[in-house]
Amino acid sequence: MLQTSNYSLVLLVQFLLLVYDLFVNSFSELLRSAPVVQLVLFIIQDIAILFNVIIILLMFFNTFVFQVGLVSLLLHRFKGTIIVSVLYLGLSISFHVWVMNLRWLNSNSFVWTDGLQALFVFQRLAAVLYYYFYKRTAECLGDTRLYEDSAWLRSAFSRIRQ
């Protein structure tokens, strides 16, 4: 059974990582006085996304539903989160590599091209979807029924066995 304090702590860590991600997405363009600063911010952002994905997977593994073998239930319910998270991680790394490659020698220059602009839009849109789906999943994983035996789980188990 998931303890409330543990869940609160995990939720806090997840939200802190999300807030950092939102902060970097919003203000990284302002913090480009030195390319190293932006590079560090981007690296930490990508690691934060990766950490968030790992944390949500660990929370999946911790559920009783997962431990009894009903992995498909969790995957079916939270597949949107997993897909969006992986997509966002890929878009973020691509955008960061491209931008840092262009701005490494002159950080305060105009580097925008149509391709970079398109990637920027997709990365920021995916970020918003990632925030929404991730926050929703983190909250849904607080459901106590996911961590204990219940009539719902038994019915789901029998339904899948059929």
Partner: protein
């Protein structure tokens, strides 16, 4: 115990070597041949005198099995003593042993080795606790290994001193270990004790994880409500400033560039921050993850669904102006290879779409805020966040989608 009931158990002691002679090399466990022999020797059991029985008793320690048996029984006895039933059966046996003591006084009690008393106890316990096991095994939490079930094969060496086979009646008291001491307790109350212990041990937290999740959701919704208003106000302020600086009919665009260039990028970043929070909040309200619910909201022109659409459109439009905002931010600086970013006469061409897009963003954001603030309590996610039954039935969901 009647003497007739004892006789089938006494005889195998008198004929220990028989199984090995009949079945040399047979790997059947020792107890089985002995049982057969006891049945086969039923006819001669009356002919064996008590003295001979005592003889056989004295010979038994020479055989390997009886040497191991007392140790094994002692182990069993230790296990059995851990159960409350053993205590009651022991008390009960003290009264039931009376015929046995009389029997022993007839000539066997003085020569009895003390070791024989030790193995005898578990056997009696096994017999007497059996009716009680079936009733109370579950409530006492006794492991299955501790319950002796093979009563059909009494141990022949101990048959002489076996207790009478009277059906034992469970006494009203059992001894339960509490606070490292065994205390007497009524059986009727025993079933209530685990519940009390459970209630005591499982201290229900004031907040469950579900409550935490719900409170976080409500907190974010409240914060989102503020963000909607701040974003609408900021967008309107931003477009007013732009139009004021651009002058009438956008006649003073150069003034706009000079005055606004320091504000352009911070405003763009702040706009993205507020738009992201507002969009997530609007998605939360319309429950976008549930496609059927979100689609129904859009079809019925639900305020939350409309606000979500407006915020998403404003976000796309705002992001599409990132390049222009950076160009405004870099006004007056040299571009790559020394070329200037703002060629003379290009201001109108670049800035007019940017101003129009900003105006549209402000309108969209303001309209979305009106929709959401008209019904600030509307939230489709909170009610269905923990609705596992409906969500986790893919077949039912697919059917509903097909019907739709």
């Amino acid at each position: 115990m009647e003497p007739g009931a004892e006789q089938p158990r006494r005889l195998p002691r008198a004929l220990p070597p028989m199984p090995s002679q009949d079945h040399p090399g047979d790997e059947v466990p020792l107890s089985k041949p002995k049982k057969k022999k006891s049945k086969a020797s039923n006819g001669i059991e009356d002919m064996v005198s008590p003295v001979e029985r005592r003889h056989s008793e004295s010979r038994e320690p020479l055989t390997p099995e009886p040497q191991d048996a007392p140790q094994h029984r002692r182990r069993k006895k230790k296990k059995a003593q851990q159960t409350p039933d053993s205590e009651t059966s022991f008390m009960q046996r003290s009264t039931a042993d009376m015929p046995l003591q009389e029997d022993l006084q007839n000539g066997t009690s003085d020569k009895l080795p003390s070791e024989d008393d030790v193995p005898r106890k578990p056997k009696k316990k096994g017999k007497k606790t059996r009716p009680a096991d079936l009733q109370y095994a579950n409530e006492l939490g006794v492991e299955e290994d501790d319950i002796v079930t093979d009563v059909q094969q009494p141990n022949p060496p101990l048959a002489l001193f076996a207790a009478p086979l009277g059906s034992s009646q469970p006494v009203g008291k059992v001894f339960v270990e509490r606070n490292r001491r065994f205390q007497a307790a009524d059986r009727s109350e025993l079933s209530k004790v685990p519940e009390k212990v459970d209630d005591f041990m499982e201290v229900r937290p004031l907040w469950t994880t579900r409550d935490v999740a719900l409170n976080v959701h409500r907190g974010f919704r409240m914060m989102g409500l503020f963000c909607h208003g701040i974003l609408a106000g900021f967008a309107v302020w931003n477009i007013i400033v732009v139009y004021v600086l651009a002058g009438s009919q956008l006649g003073t665009l150069a003034n706009l560039l000079v005055q606004y260039k320091t504000l352009a990028y911070p405003a763009q970043c702040l706009l993205y921050l507020l738009l992201a929070i507002s969009t997530v909040s609007a998605f939360d309200r319309v429950n976008l993850a549930k496609a059927s619910v979100a689609l129904r909201g859009f079809m019925t022109l639900d305020p939350t669904a409309l606000a979500s659409f407006l915020y998403f459109a404003a976000l796309v439009l705002s992001l599409s102006q990132q390049m222009t905002s950076d160009r405004i931010n870099l006004y007056g600086t040299q571009g790559v290879n020394g070329s200037t970013l703002w060629l003379p006469g290009l201001e109108q061409q670049v800035l007019q779409p940017w101003i129009v897009v900003n105006l549209v963003v402000a309108l969209l954001v303001g309209l979305a805020w009106v929709f959401l603030s008209s019904r600030p309590e509307l939230d489709y996610t909170e009610g269905s966040m923990f609705a596992l039954d409906a969500e986790d039935n893919p077949s039912a969901e697919d059917k509903a989608e097909i019907q739709a």
